[in-house]
């Protein structure tokens, strides 16, 4: 077995007296694409935040890229797409400025974009199909366009791991498909490990290697196909797993998971 790129060992996260994550042990291998599935409020976002050190576990240990999360943050090796967008509409930056932020993040002393930086920014904008809107005011873009720019910002970092919290929010069908293909390409060509939280299981299961079913506890982590036939899972997750069942049998997925 290869050493895990993200490893959680008996991780608990509690907010006051509320237990949000209970005794989670989970390993993400290099080049693995994991989908985190679970109903609203089941702790998916918290799990993602715990992986990169934004939330500290009350018990247990986390290691990411063989380092403590607090350390890894400083190196900028993680591309993160948060679920919530809390930006002020008036925030005076262009789409280009937003993507450039992730290049400036790793500046040592003087903030100046090199040619490599500019190529990375333009390349990322191009990848998400936003090159033409590079000079547009970010706040004036549509929801889906903003989402694409934020994805580009994560990509421009040239990360080793991508942590994506409901990335397909706001993307149209075409953009979703090409986004998922892109993720697969990033994994194949650059060897990224990718963790995706998604309710849109139908599409995600086409590209993922494993599924992690979360509802406070980790109820299952393995190949999507193996998640079937478990009555207990169906009991805990209800329709959320039913969708997985459905995918297994739908024509697009059968080849992948047969």
């Amino acid at each position: 077995m290869e050493r895990p790129i993200i490893a959680l060992n008996n991780v608990w996260v509690e907010f006051g007296s509320i237990i949000v994550l209970e005794d989670i042990t989970l390993a993400v291998r290099p080049r693995e694409i994991v989908s985190i599935v679970g109903p609203n409020g089941s702790g998916k976002t918290t799990l993602l935040r715990t992986m990169m050190g934004l939330t500290r576990p009350t018990r247990g240990t986390v290691s990411i890229l063989e380092t403590a999360p607090a350390e890894i943050m400083r190196t900028g090796r993680i591309g993160y797409l948060p679920q919530e967008r809390r930006q002020d509409e008036r925030f005076p930056v262009t789409a280009y400025d937003v993507v450039a932020m992730s290049r400036f993040a790793r500046t040592a002393v003087i903030e100046r974009l090199t040619r490599t930086d500019r190529q990375a920014i333009e390349g990322a904008l191009d990848t998400v199909g936003m090159a033409d809107a590079a000079r547009a005011h970010f706040g004036s873009l549509s929801g889906g366009q903003k989402q694409r720019v934020l994805i580009a910002r994560a990509l421009a970092l040239n990360p080793e791991i991508l942590l994506l919290d409901e990335p397909s929010t706001g993307l149209d069908a075409v953009a979703q498909d090409s986004f998922y293909l892109l993720l697969r390409k990033l994994r194949d060509e650059r060897g990224l490990a990718i963790v995706i939280v998604s309710h849109d299981i139908g599409t995600v299961s086409m590209i993922v290697d494993t599924v992690a079913c979360i509802k406070r506890k980790l109820h299952f982590h393995g190949k999507p196909a193996d998640c079937l036939g478990s009555d207990r899972l169906a009991e805990v997750f209800g329709k959320n797993v039913y969708v997985l069942h459905h995918d297994k049998n739908c024509p697009t997925c059968r080849d992948d998971h047969a």
Binding site: G76, L81, P82, R86, P92, M101, S102, E111, S140, R153
Partner: protein
């Protein structure tokens, strides 16, 4: 007129206007975008407690309030980000307490000679060379800081979580920004006073945001605007014989709403 200009306080006043414009035009940008306006107002009120503490302990009131406010700003800023303490409640409680403490200390010390009105509403004619030099030092520090960290500050203001996972040292930057904010506010209190300083913290960037969607221009408009209202307010207060700080803030508010109306009507927004 020549006589007035040759007077040292007037020279100081003009120099102060220039420095204040550069200080608050820039500070306001980050305070507004990071949604720390209320914290700014809180820090200004905290200054009152700091001044009183200085008088009480026999320390220079400027340095006492500087130390007190920097500490308060950094502590409150930390509490807010770490423990999720609500900005509104935490700051509201703290600054009310700090003003109360100030009032008690002044009463106990019987410091009647203390220029209370000057601290509350400002007194530009009381600005000394010392005040101007302190403001100039704050100016150098603020611009050095922004010059080095502009884009990272922008990232942090835009999206703090992603900034930190991308490699921005948000904790350190936040602390420095809070400390500088406190220092800048303290230097401005002499001019417009504790009660009115929050206007200088909020108005410049709000004005700039009305006129531009480019962050450099928003900052530039904020600086120009502050210069216009400070010199305009100063002149007006001489002509009308009104309190300077209040005149500056009133003029600033009027100009802000005028710009808003202008943008609504002519730029169709």
């Amino acid at each position: 007129m020549r006589e007035i200009i040759s007077m040292p306080f007037f020279v100081n006043a003009i120099a102060m206007c220039v420095i204040m414009s550069l200080l608050f035009g820039m500070l306001s940008f980050f305070v507004v975008l990071r949604r720390m306006s209320f914290l700014g107002a809180g820090v200004a009120h905290t200054a009152f407690g700091g001044v009183a503490l200085g008088l009480f302990l026999g320390i220079d009131p400027f340095f006492a309030s500087l130390a007190f406010c920097v500490l308060a700003a950094v502590t409150l800023g930390r509490l807010v980000s770490r423990d999720g303490l609500s900005y509104d409640a935490g700051i509201g409680i703290f600054f009310a307490f700090s003003m109360a403490l100030g009032a008690i200390l002044i009463a106990v010390r019987k410091a009647y000679s203390f220029d209370l009105m000057g601290y509350l509403f400002g007194n530009i004619l009381g600005v000394t060379t010392f005040d101007t030099v302190m403001a100039a030092i704050a100016l150098v520090l603020l611009y050095l800081f922004v010059g080095l960290y502009l884009h990272r500050l922008l990232f942090m203001s835009f999206d703090e979580d992603v900034a930190s996972t991308s490699g921005v040292r948000t904790g350190a930057l936040d602390t420095l920004l809070l400390a500088l904010m406190a220092a800048v506010i303290i230097t401005g209190i002499k001019v417009v006073g504790i009660i009115l300083i929050s206007a200088l913290v909020v108005l410049p960037a709000s004005f700039g945001l009305l006129l531009s969607k480019n962050f450099r221009l928003v900052i530039a408009w904020g600086i120009l605007y502050t210069f216009a209202i400070m010199t305009g307010g100063l002149a007006l207060s001489f002509v009308l014989d009104t309190p300077t700080g209040a005149t500056i803030v009133s003029l600033g508010t009027a100009l802000y709403f005028l710009a808003m109306a202008f943008v609504r009507i002519f730029m169709n927004k």
